[in-house]
């Protein structure tokens, strides 16, 4: 791990350049992230943080056949979760969509920013997150549902 370099300049020159390269690259990446319209802290830093911190019942949100269930609020997309999980997808055109989005603390779902809530067998909401790529993230969702 520790290597003598003999001088301040010779051996580590390549490493110095590498560290400087990483620093410059990181700065450019952050600038690029913000310049392309991404949030500095998506959903207040809570997007896809994957902590099952909730334990709350919400009117109109129930598990499907007593199984851990994902309740999705999205304009497009279909779930790729295995059939052993319950999945309910609400579309914006449905009556009461906006109200449900507000109750699940996903108000921007009304503007077609997809989000979902996870419900345990007893009908408690345990997690909610915005996730515009929700249809492709079944692996992440199944890990959380398995823990319910």
């Amino acid at each position: 791990m520790i290597g003598a370099d003999g001088s301040d300049r010779a051996a580590p020159r390549r490493e110095r350049r590498f560290v400087a390269f990483v620093q410059v690259g990181a700065v450019l990446m952050v600038i690029g992230w913000l310049a392309t319209g991404h949030a500095a802290a998506p959903d207040g830093g809570l997007q896809q943080v994957d902590v099952l911190s909730l334990h709350e019942q919400v009117a109109g949100v129930v598990p499907v056949h007593g199984r851990p269930t994902m309740v999705v609020l999205a304009c497009t997309g279909t779930s790729s979760l295995p059939a052993r999980y319950g999945v309910v997808v609400h579309r914006r055109a449905e009556p009461g969509f906006t109200d449900l989005a507000r109750r699940l603390a996903l108000p921007r779902a009304s503007g077609c920013v997809a989000g979902y809530a996870l419900v345990d067998r007893a009908g408690f909401v345990r997690y909610r997150s915005y996730d515009p790529g929700w249809a492709r993230h079944s692996d992440e969702q199944s890990i959380l549902l398995d823990a319910l």
Binding site: G3, W33, V51, G133, D139, I143, A147
Partner: protein, 204 residues
Amino acid sequence: MRWLAAAGLAALEGLIALAYDDRGTWWHWMLHQYVGWGLGLSGAGLLAVALHRSAPKRGVPERGVPERGVPERGVPGRRVPGRRAPERRAPGRRVPAVGAMVLGQLVSIFPDLMFRFMRMPHEPWMDWWVGHISMHTGPSPLLVALLVLLFGGWGWLLATSRPRVAVLACLAGPLLLLVACLLARPIPTSLSGYPASVAGPVSR
């Protein structure tokens, strides 16, 4: 062989980045990699300073000033009273940056590795892995992560040439991260705790 190792490491880093991107969590990738790399470099910088300070001192004559007790040039046997030679340390030992960065990165993303390979959801106690949870809801998380990396890099770069500045830079990153985590909002335990309207778009 070195190129092979470099290529393997680059491929591994690429896979890690792709895994984050595949889950739509590029923002998390930036946070945790920057913090991990920065803390790794900070640790390496501090270790290098410690090794540098513990190195044995040795006298080096100042330019143009004969060292005390050294025979004057051209006058065999004659000794002149010169200024006392300053004591300098042996050339510094540098802790390799890449190894330190990878080590810091592994510590920083360990909860994500547990999520992926042990199928374990995140929990608040995972803050022990360098603020893995709290840093999301702390003030300006992206800026904090970037500064941790920049401070760590500067500390490592200056470790043997300007040890005092390097120590300050190496400590600034971890201290900044600690303050950010202490100021972080807790993860909401009820739906009313979520921001009803957060400015800015939601990332993909």
